[in-house]
Symmetry: none
Subunit: 204 residues, 2 copies
DNA sequence: CATTATGTTCTCAAAATGTTCTCATTCTGA
DNA sequence: TCAGAATGAGAACATTTTGAGAACATAATG
């Protein structure tokens, strides 16, 4: 009734389903499909949710017409820091989420001690890190063997390499992931760890 | 009772939980969830804390309604959608930002028509997409030659490949980025585009 | 036009959630 | 030590939310 009302759980689920359906099919779903999509059997109940979403101004309908739902405003309940994480995307059917893990949470990338670095060069290409990628680094001064680190050499040059101690820790190896390049070895005192790789992203 | 009263430990815990929950879910938690969140079993006890927080003016509730809690006092606002984007990280010195682009904004990844898919297999490895990576897909039904797409073949099988039209659009090539695998060619009617790759991320 | 599918409205319940209580137990400061 | 505060469990009840399905009206279809 009241346009300022909050949506109930099922009403939000319904809105979410309709948005996804329209995104994948370009037309709106029918009541039967909505019912199945949100896990119930009754068209009447599905219609009740449509009515609620209409009353709250999220959608409007061509009354009586088949597939007559239109979205009116963006869904404010969509969590801006997570994305649906999908397993299979089959036709028509509601999208199949990965069991036990249906939301991807990107806040892992946004911790207070994290920063991003744009990667230059191909030295880590065999680790799947390509020129132009952005890597997420956690500020740290120590690393474990095998970590990929941002290392500062001789207080001047910064590089992204795999980290490994050598000679009981007196030396440090910085190992590229590119068979055309050679690993480098430095006295431990010349190398300073700036941070450790915790994530990577790429934008197309 | 008294609005100037200090909060007890559990009341503070409850308030923290509610703030975090709302930040994560956009809607308020129900009593059962609050109880579990602060480590107790009784909804009644959880409600007692809600009552105390209401009396002290931190929250208000839509009496009776499910998920009817609203925060009243401002909670520290954190912008979690950007990260500092750094060029060089030199010792001691304040970190050197990339000129003209000093914040990485991940909101591109969170559009309402985007979703995430966990990648299985090595078919796109030469494009830097490895087994276990997560790719961000924008819902779309059309693609341009060269796009990497999620394609549904024969309404059953879903795959991530590079898209290319062939024979004036009567056929569609799906091209892996792996020299050990061969490209596949289908009649256009057998292939349905589910979305186009717009980003990729990996967590270490 | 006849038939089927779909949208709409309705009633009857069941399940989930919020609210209020009582009864204990633990903690804290005078 | 003792009284009061804080905490926890859970029963009992009221209200909200959810679900099924019948009945009817209208739209879509051939």
């Amino acid at each position: 009734m009241n346009a300022s009302q909050q949506l109930t759980d099922k009403q939000r689920l319904t809105l979410d389903f309709i948005e996804r359906y329209i995104a994948t099919h370009t037309v709106s779903p029918k009541l039967q499909e909505i019912a199945e999509g949100i896990g119930i059997r009754s068209r009447g109940v599905a219609h009740r949710y449509i009515q609620a979403l209409t009353d709250t101004g999220f959608i409007e309908t061509d009354s009586g017409k088949h597939r007559g739902i239109r979205l009116l405003k963006p869904n404010p309940y969509r969590d801006e820091s997570t994305l649906p994480l999908l397993g299979k995307i089959a036709a028509g059917k509601p999208i199949e989420a990965i069991p036990g893990e249906d939301q991807l949470d990107l806040r892992d990338f946004f911790g207070r001690n994290n920063f991003a670095v744009r990667v230059q060069g191909d030295s880590m290409i065999e680790a799947g890190i390509m020129d132009g990628d952005t890597v997420i680094i956690e500020f740290r001064e120590t690393a474990n063997d095998g970590d990929i680190v941002v290392a500062l050499i001789d207080e001047t040059e910064t590089t992204l390499k795999r980290f490994k101690r050598s000679h009981r820790g007196r030396y440090i190896k910085l190992i590229p992931a590119n068979k055309d390049m050679e690993e480098m070895i430095y006295e431990a005192s010349r190398v300073r760890i700036q941070g450790v790789l915790i994530g990577q992203l790429r934008k197309y």
